[in-house]
Every structure is written in structure tokens, then in C-alpha cells.
Symmetry: D2
Subunit: 349 residues, 4 copies
Amino acid sequence: MSEKVKVAIVGSTGYGGVELIRLLASHPTAEVTSVISSSSAGAPIAEGFPHLSEIRTDLLDDVDPVVIKSKADVVFLATPAGVAAKLAPSLMDAGLKVIDLSGDFRLKSRDSYTEWYKKEAAEQQFIDKAVFGLAEVYGASVKNAEFISNPGCYPTATLLGLVPAVAAGFIDPSTIIIDAKSGVSGAGRGANLGTHYSELNENFKAYKINKHQHIPEIEQVLSDVAGRPVVTTFTTHLVPMTRGIMSTMYATVQGEHTAADFIGLYRQYYEGRKFVRIRPEGTVPSTKEVWGSNYCDIGFAVDERTGRVTIVSVIDNLVKGAAGQAIQNLNLMMGWDETLGLQFVPAYP
Amino acid sequence: MSEKVKVAIVGSTGYGGVELIRLLASHPTAEVTSVISSSSAGAPIAEGFPHLSEIRTDLLDDVDPVVIKSKADVVFLATPAGVAAKLAPSLMDAGLKVIDLSGDFRLKSRDSYTEWYKKEAAEQQFIDKAVFGLAEVYGASVKNAEFISNPGCYPTATLLGLVPAVAAGFIDPSTIIIDAKSGVSGAGRGANLGTHYSELNENFKAYKINKHQHIPEIEQVLSDVAGRPVVTTFTTHLVPMTRGIMSTMYATVQGEHTAADFIGLYRQYYEGRKFVRIRPEGTVPSTKEVWGSNYCDIGFAVDERTGRVTIVSVIDNLVKGAAGQAIQNLNLMMGWDETLGLQFVPAYP
Amino acid sequence: MSEKVKVAIVGSTGYGGVELIRLLASHPTAEVTSVISSSSAGAPIAEGFPHLSEIRTDLLDDVDPVVIKSKADVVFLATPAGVAAKLAPSLMDAGLKVIDLSGDFRLKSRDSYTEWYKKEAAEQQFIDKAVFGLAEVYGASVKNAEFISNPGCYPTATLLGLVPAVAAGFIDPSTIIIDAKSGVSGAGRGANLGTHYSELNENFKAYKINKHQHIPEIEQVLSDVAGRPVVTTFTTHLVPMTRGIMSTMYATVQGEHTAADFIGLYRQYYEGRKFVRIRPEGTVPSTKEVWGSNYCDIGFAVDERTGRVTIVSVIDNLVKGAAGQAIQNLNLMMGWDETLGLQFVPAYP
Amino acid sequence: MSEKVKVAIVGSTGYGGVELIRLLASHPTAEVTSVISSSSAGAPIAEGFPHLSEIRTDLLDDVDPVVIKSKADVVFLATPAGVAAKLAPSLMDAGLKVIDLSGDFRLKSRDSYTEWYKKEAAEQQFIDKAVFGLAEVYGASVKNAEFISNPGCYPTATLLGLVPAVAAGFIDPSTIIIDAKSGVSGAGRGANLGTHYSELNENFKAYKINKHQHIPEIEQVLSDVAGRPVVTTFTTHLVPMTRGIMSTMYATVQGEHTAADFIGLYRQYYEGRKFVRIRPEGTVPSTKEVWGSNYCDIGFAVDERTGRVTIVSVIDNLVKGAAGQAIQNLNLMMGWDETLGLQFVPAYP
């Protein structure tokens, strides 16, 4: 076999990083040659993640663009907000292709970033270079890109569920309401009262109402697709489970469209895209049906009484919402089939 | 102490019945004198519910209005849909006060019942006698009532969260969207694939979209309060937990009202009603904060960008959503303080 | 009604403290007059525990023996290991009765404390004063005591399951193996990777094998009961649930004893003690059957093939394993019925 | 690529069958050509398992040895106890290789089968033909076998944790006590009160004490390895999680052996066997660290105070405890590397 493309992962001790390691372990044309963590450099990665025992026996590297370039061709950044903004430019300058899983390069407006993230934005020239890696919508731009900004977990489930309907004018964008729910792994591996087992088990809670930093990301894409500014109501909830996101979305139907019409529209829009599965009429997906996989499953119900459509979209937040989608983008960047190394069957039950 | 009021429970082997037993065990002026189950009559109740060992050592009685009347003054019906419709009349004829926890007497229209429940409706004369036991809204009618129809779990959380705003005209009723989530105990103790642990654990699912039998119950009350027909969008989801309901509700604000205005309005509406707690601005409740108690906690967020209010209302579905509210209604029927025997502090964590 | 006994709780922002508040809220002859937390003094307790909204509206007090004495007659210490060792003496000096829920006064040997807790032990004279509050075994000493050391959660479940058999010589103490399992709330409210939801959910893990600080506590009592030194094998595991402990215990039967013999022995030993329930032959309890209550339920199986008995003992770690047992001890100290304010029916499901 | 080996799965609508489908979907040299279910024949498999949407679009076949032979070379039986006993002979007669995941051919003694399974045993001649597929112990027999009896889930975790120590005389076999815990998927997909979500969530329970049908299977192998009859104490518990088994095992150490000695012994015994990972001293594995993978991870603690060793062994019950081990056996039967198609990294978290 020809040589594999070498991949480095910055932020290997977070859930996004460790999921990249899991998925890339069975990738046929890419291999992870460096796992990087500034906080744990020098330690064996399997020490903090015993599930990797005898699978990865290497030590964590420190963050150094020159060293990374000597070991890898492509680098994934699975770092907290604010880190990639500073790190990505030097990695690109070193000649690396970069796929950033954080929110640092998703918003085209620096002001919007500062408003929602409460941090200083990246430099505009690098923001401009970043391609928003929602492959099923912006696939053409992703091909041949050198720098990808990987979408957020909530925006992935939400936008894949809304874009075809907005693009086709099937729904009134001003009426969109998004009620989103996520498993706890979306909050990362940081330990605080908000991720404490006893506080979350047997509990269901709403958080960051009208204040979640994924709101401007969703609105940016919907506005782009609609051709005019779209604002939405977006609420996030925490579900007592580890993985999975569901966006339940509501909008007023424009014109006369049945659930079957929506299904037809979406099947056409996503034709040839293996990772979006449109469910048959009368059924909607649950999160477990995509657990551990790169699928986004979508279902519809139209209510004649109210004139509204309800759209249910589910993903595994760590796969299609993070690491899996990032690998999908790697595949497209490299000119490979987008499903390479990602054809996992969901783990059920 | 003067003699306690005697209470019988039909359906003592379901979750609603067994929760009535738990709560009434510490009621100061009522006592359970007969636990009844047609399917398990003759067996010790603690056999199927070992948590009741040495607490209740009696055998389950069969359903017989004359025998019940000889043992009790009031009877709770915690039976599946369709049973109370046939049973309640004979119990009332026998001179018993009746509190029905099922949906059989909630809808004033027999056609509506048949449409949503797919069963034959109760006789109109008994439907007409039934007082809808949402005490914080219809408290005056509950006092001195002989026959109470206890509200459904979803309607309780939803209506307590919406009624004051609809009554005051703070929101446009035609824009109401209700995204509701429930723990699994709401599905009852029946064993099927839909209640199988491995199917629900680490899973989040939507069900009965636009088809849930609680929709007409919610709309009946909202229409009554609004003074004109209200239709709503209502979606139910199953959360991997046992107890708890959250209704996340959306509506367009009419006029200029801030979250503080909503808080003020609701505090005024529910003044003196101990079981509704309105959260301070900037916070919303989670389900665990009412676990095991009769509280309904409500919080608000108003988004100036969209002109919409988000209302979060939580209850324990087995307490305020079923057995607790039924006892609250008993208290009111008997002329007692509505909080008697119900002042449980939520179990946290 | 005559005046209630006034109670203060030090450590009110931990799970033990907040459970004391929950249980004491319905105690007929005691009332909580001061909730104390050195770390959060001055803040409303309901701010950190919204489930207490409108139930407790007072502010957290700071730790000051003189002030506590001015407000209370009895003080509960629900503090981390090492705190009570220093604090309890000054509280006793101030004339308060003290019930310590920590491990600081459980071990009679200061060396043993230092070896297992890795901290400096309390003064010997105060250790000597402390009565070990396992009421079903040492009830006579608890009555009239001024200073109680409340047993640990694991020792409570374990000792109630072993003491009668050891005392009667039904089992060989040298063969005892204890396989214990606990819900996560036993680890307290501190946030770290060991209490992170995503690390514990859908996970079962063993920890502190042969090193748990409850080992010497268990052995101290078993040795006392056996009249000779007993060492045991004791393993602790973490279960993905919030509350509940099960100790599954193994020992070689001495003489010919059937499960029925064990049941008879235990029923006799615990006669009149309401909080221990011995299950009928052929059944063993599960943790949910005591959830939220002060019960300890015990069941037996004897295997003729191996000559061993298997004893299963369950408690709610926050009630019988902590706050509930502490209140039971308060009741006995005050000369009241030990069940006062503790007759909760377990919450099921 | 050369043609793949064709595989049929009987019992495709149970958890074992559907896990075989998941794992075989990425097998490089085998492919599933027929999914079979007598109860659902004719229906699309994705109808009952929507996670397979667009992955498997075929219909379920009925059970017919001749038809199976026309479609496949090897057949997996993932059927309830009692079915394979009758079905396997006809499949072998039809010329198929058979791997049975049920308990029907594990016990060499028909009397023992009848005693523990309460069913009629298979014919002795077929029992004699069956090779017990615990590859790390009986690997030589598995190679070239035509008929494999795949070990039970509990025996797999337990035996891999005990065999080397028993074989080397490190422990006294008469002292072995096995405290085993399993996720709920081990109980299968049948819906009953014992698998009801609300009964199991936030609950930990013991079951079938001294009566589990895996006891004779464990003892048969231990007796074989020890060269003399071994009886054990074996207790099973249900953990509120879907996947994972932990066996915590206790035995008296024979001679002077430290934890390091055990580690050395096991590493030597399992040298070259990729699916057994021995943990370094001072650490033991948790179930999540093997979730979704074919690994069995084992750790040790030796207590000088008691002279006992504690051995902790974990597997994913549906993978190494069922479908994964079955595929490992397929690989060995076919003369392939035993890891083919099984090198999944555990899904963490």
C-alpha cells in the first residue's frame, strides 16, 4: 500500500481528540503520527485513557509547529475556544493543512465572535481563509481547502435539518424555533459542578437560553442559504446520557407541503451523501440510532391543524458533531471518498 | 386525634397507585384502608413491591363498589384509559367521592375523547359532573367537589407554565409551541420494547408527534382561559431517567414585556399557592429540583432579538403530575389546607 | 406544641448536609435553626440548591461555636475528614451535643486513623468520648450520649448484614469477603474526573481495593462482636447511579445452617428495630427498594455445594448511610422513639 | 479481492445477532449474506432496527437449512436456549460450519444441562463434536473446528481472569468466589418487568444467586484446568447500564505471590493474544475501557493482611462476551488471524 497521510492531533486529552484517535485507528489512508497535549506532554496517552492501552503506546508531544510539521502533513485542532485563534496561523505558516474543531474560525464577523464567545477573535485574514466544513452543504468549497473550520455539534444537527427547507422556501425562516438536547460529553472533559454525575443523573436541564455561542453560527448559515438575515430561537438542554444530540425544530410551512414533500425534498438535496439518512413518513429518529457513527438522521411531521412542520435531526455529537465530520472533511480535502474510514455501523443497543 | 378519612386506591399495582400509597402514608388526616387491583387481587401488595415490606402487609382487594364503600369514603382511580369511564359511575352511585387520575373524564367533548384516545367515551352526564382538578387554576371549583378528574402529567407542567401569560394577554396564543420531555415512569409499568432498559438508556427519542392524547386537554384549558379557540404544537420526548417532566414553551410576546414582567405576573397569579415556585430572573429550573415533591417550578427568558418568550416548567410526573396533585385535590375537596401531607422537600441529589 | 429542639448543621452545602435539611424539615420535634458553611457563609442556601427555594430562605452562617450555641442545642457535623477532629471539641466545650457524620471519631486507635486516613487523628480523650452510633448494635450506649460518631455508609450496610451471624457464630469470621457497590453521591459534591458524568455513566468500576478507609471501621466492630481480631477482604465499586449501597458478603457457614436459620437469627436479633427488614427466603433486596428511606434490607442464600452463605444488604447511602442514621441517633440521644421523622416510604420507582 | 466467506445469522433480531451484523459489516474477508429470524421473516431488518437504515436493506429470511446452505458457508446461531440444540444438527448435516452463541452445547454433561437450564439437552454426539470457543485457552482446538460452542458472557470474563492462576497453582481453587456484574443487554431484548427501564434505572440488584446457568460452565473449565473438581461461589448482579461485565474474583493465594507475580504470569500466559490486556500494578480496569471492543482487560491486587488476591476482569458482554468472540472463533476456524475485523478501539467516553 502507498504511504499513509500523516496526521497530528492537538488536544489529544479531550473527548474530541480521543475520538479522533479512535476513528483514525481504522482509517485506510491516514495515520496518527503525533498526539499532542500542552498540559500533559511527556506522559503516555494511555495513562489518562486506559482504553488505549496497548493500542497507542506513544507519549504525548508538546505543541511546536516546527516539530509537528516534521511529523505530520495535516493537523487537527481539538482545543478549547481561543487556542486555535492563536495557534492555527503558525501551523499554516509551517506548511500544514489545518482542520480546526473549535469555534474560533466559524464566524465570519470578528465582532460577532467577541460578542458570543467573550474572547478576542482571530485575525480577519485567517478567518477569511477558513472554509466552513459542513460538507453536505458546502462540499464544493471543502474539496481542495487547506484550512477547514469544522462546524459545532449543535449547528451540524440543526443545519442539516433546516437547510434544504430554507433553501427551497418550504418554511418561513422567521418562524424557526430550535429546541436542542445534548448528552453530557458535549460539555467536554473539564470537571465542575455542571458535569458532576450526581447533579446530572436523573435530571434534565435547560442552559444558556438565548445565549449559546452556536446561535450566530446557525444564523450565519441560514442567512446565507435564505439570502436574507435570519434570526432564530435556540434553546439547549442537557440529557442524562453521554453521547447524542437531537434538534427538534419547528417552523411554519410556506405553501402546501406534506411530510412526504419534505422527505422528497431532503432526499433529493442529500442525494449521494451517505451520512444523511432521511426517515420514511411516520417515523423520526432517536439518538441511539446513530450512536458511535457519522450519520445524521432526519424525520418529519407536518401538522395540518397548526400549519407547522416538526423536524427531528439526530447525530452523535462526538462523531458527526466533531471528530467524524472532521475526518470527513480530511477525506474531501485530500480528494478521497468522503466516507473513507467512517463507515461504522451505529452501536445498538 | 379524630378519625382519619378512609381512602381506597384502585390500580394499586401501577406507578400512580403505588405513589399514592407512598405519599398518603404520611398524611395526617387520611389513611389508605384498601389497596385494590383486579389483576392481582388476593396477593400481598408487598410481594410485587418489596419496598413496601413491613409497611403495608395487607392483601390486594378486588374491585367491588359495595365492598369499597364499606371500607372507604373516597376512592382514587389510578387505572389505564377506558377503565374509569365504566367504573366511576358505579362508585359515585355507591356514595363514594371519586378522584380519577386517568384521562377518561378530562375532555368535555366525547368526540374529542374518541378521536384522541381511540376508545369509547364515558357518559356525558358523568363527564359534566367531573371537575378538572388543576387546583391553581380551577381551585374554587375543586373545593366541595364530589368528583375530580385529575389533570394529565404533561398538561399540568404545561398549563401552569402558560395560563397566566395567556390570561393576561402577554403572549399570542396562536404562536405557542410546546416541546415537552418526560422520564420513563410516565409510560407506566407495562413491559414492552418501548420501556425496555437497553432501548432507552443512553437514548433520547421523540414520540407521538402531533398525536399525543394530552393535546386536546391542553387546548381545552388554554381556549377556556383565552376566551377563544387555541391550537398548539406539542411534541413529547422520552428522557433516559425515571421521573420528571420539563415543558419548554415558546410564544411571541404581545406588547413590551421583559422576563421580570413575566415573573411579576406569575408571582401575582400564583400568590398563596405553595406548590408553584417562580424562579428569579436569569435562572430556570431543572427536573431534579422538584424530584419526589409536589412543586411545579417555572422560569422565563425573553429574547429581544426574536420577540419571543421561552418558558421552562418542571414537575415530578408521579407527584404533581399524578398522585401528589390528586392528594392536593383530596385536601381541597375535604376543606383542608391543600398542602396537607404534601410538604416534601425534593430529594436532591 | 412544646418547643422543638434546635439543630445546627455544619457542612450544609455538601450532600450529607443537604439531606439532613430535607429529612429534618418534616421532623416533629426538631428544627434546623442554623445552616452553616465556612466556604459559602453569607449566601442564601437556596442559591446553590434551588430545590430549597421558598423552603429555606435563610443565609448560610459561618462556623463559630459561640454563635452556634446561641442558636442551637445540637449540632451535626457533615464535614470532610479532618475538620471535625478540630471542631468537635470546641463545640462540646461550648455545651453542644454533637453528632459527627465524618470518620474522625470512628476509629478508637489514633494510629489506625492516621494509617488509613493519612491525616492527623483527633485527641484521644475526645475519641474515647465518642459513641459509635450504629443504633441497632450499640443502641444502649447511644441513649443519653452527648457525642455520637455516626458510622460510615459502607460499614452501615456491611455491619448490619454481618453482626448477628458473627455474634452467633453462624459464620467463620476469617472467611468474610465483602464486595460492596455504591452510587456516586457517596463520593460527595466535589467535582473531579472521578465524579465526571461522562466518565461514570455507562461504566462500572472498582476503586481503592484493600485501601478503603472503611476497612478498619468494619473490622473494629466485627472484632468487638467476635471477641477476637477479624480481618476482612473489602472491595468497593462505583455504580452508575446516584444513591444506594449494596454489600454482597460471603462467608463459610459454621455448623449446619440454612437460609431459613439465618433469617430467623436476624429477625430475632433485630426485633423491635423498625429500620432493618429481613427478606423472606428465596429473595434478596435491591437498592431501589430502600431509596430515600432509612431502611436497611437484608437477604440470604446458602449454597450447600460450597458451604457458604451469601448475604445481601442494601441501604440508601445518604439516609441510613448518613443523614437518616444521624437523625435516628439524635432521636435516641434525646430519649425519643428512634423512628421519629424518619418513617419515609422508599420512593419507587 | 478474492471472494468473501458467506455468513448467515440465525436470530438476527436479538442483541447478539444485531451485534454480529455491526461487527461483520467491516470484516475484510467475511460478509453477511442472510439475516434470519423465524419470528419476523419477510420484514426488512431495518424496520425493527432503524440504526441499520440504508446499511442493510434486505428482508429477514426464515429458518431453512437448505436455503441457508445455498446462501452461506458458515452460520451463527444467536438464538435463545433450547433452539440450537434442535437446529444445529440439521445445519451441520447440510454441510455448514456452525458457531453457536447459546448455552446448548457448552456443557459436556447432558444431566448438568438439564439441571441448570431446565430444558432437554442436545444429543450427546453433537455435544461431543462442539469445541468450546474460548480461544485464549482452547485456541488449538478451535483452529480447524467445524462446530464451535461460543462461551457465555460471564464465563468469558471470569475464566480469562482465573485460568492462568488456577493452571499455575497460584491460587487455591476451593476458595474462589466470583462476584459478577452485568449491564442489562445481557438479559436480551425480551420485554418484561425484569428489563423495564423504570425498575432498573437508579437500581442495583442481585439475581439468581447460586442458580445461574453459567456456574457449571465456569466449573467445567476450571476443573479441566485444575485437573480436579472445582466448585465455586458465583453471584450475578444487574448494573444500570447497557453494556459491560465485570467479574471481581477472590481467592486465597497459594505460596508467596505478589500482584507483580500475577501480572507476570498472566502476561506470559496470554502472550501473543491481542485481546487480553493485563493492567500495570496498582490499577484495575473499568467496563467502559473495553466498551464496544473485543478486549478483556484484567487487573490484580494482593492483600498481605488476608493472603487473598482480588482479580478484576472486564469485557463488553455483546462483543468479547458474544458476537466479537464468535467472530474471533470464525477467524480461527478459517485459518485467519484471530483479530481480523475486530480491531475496534473501545468507544470512550
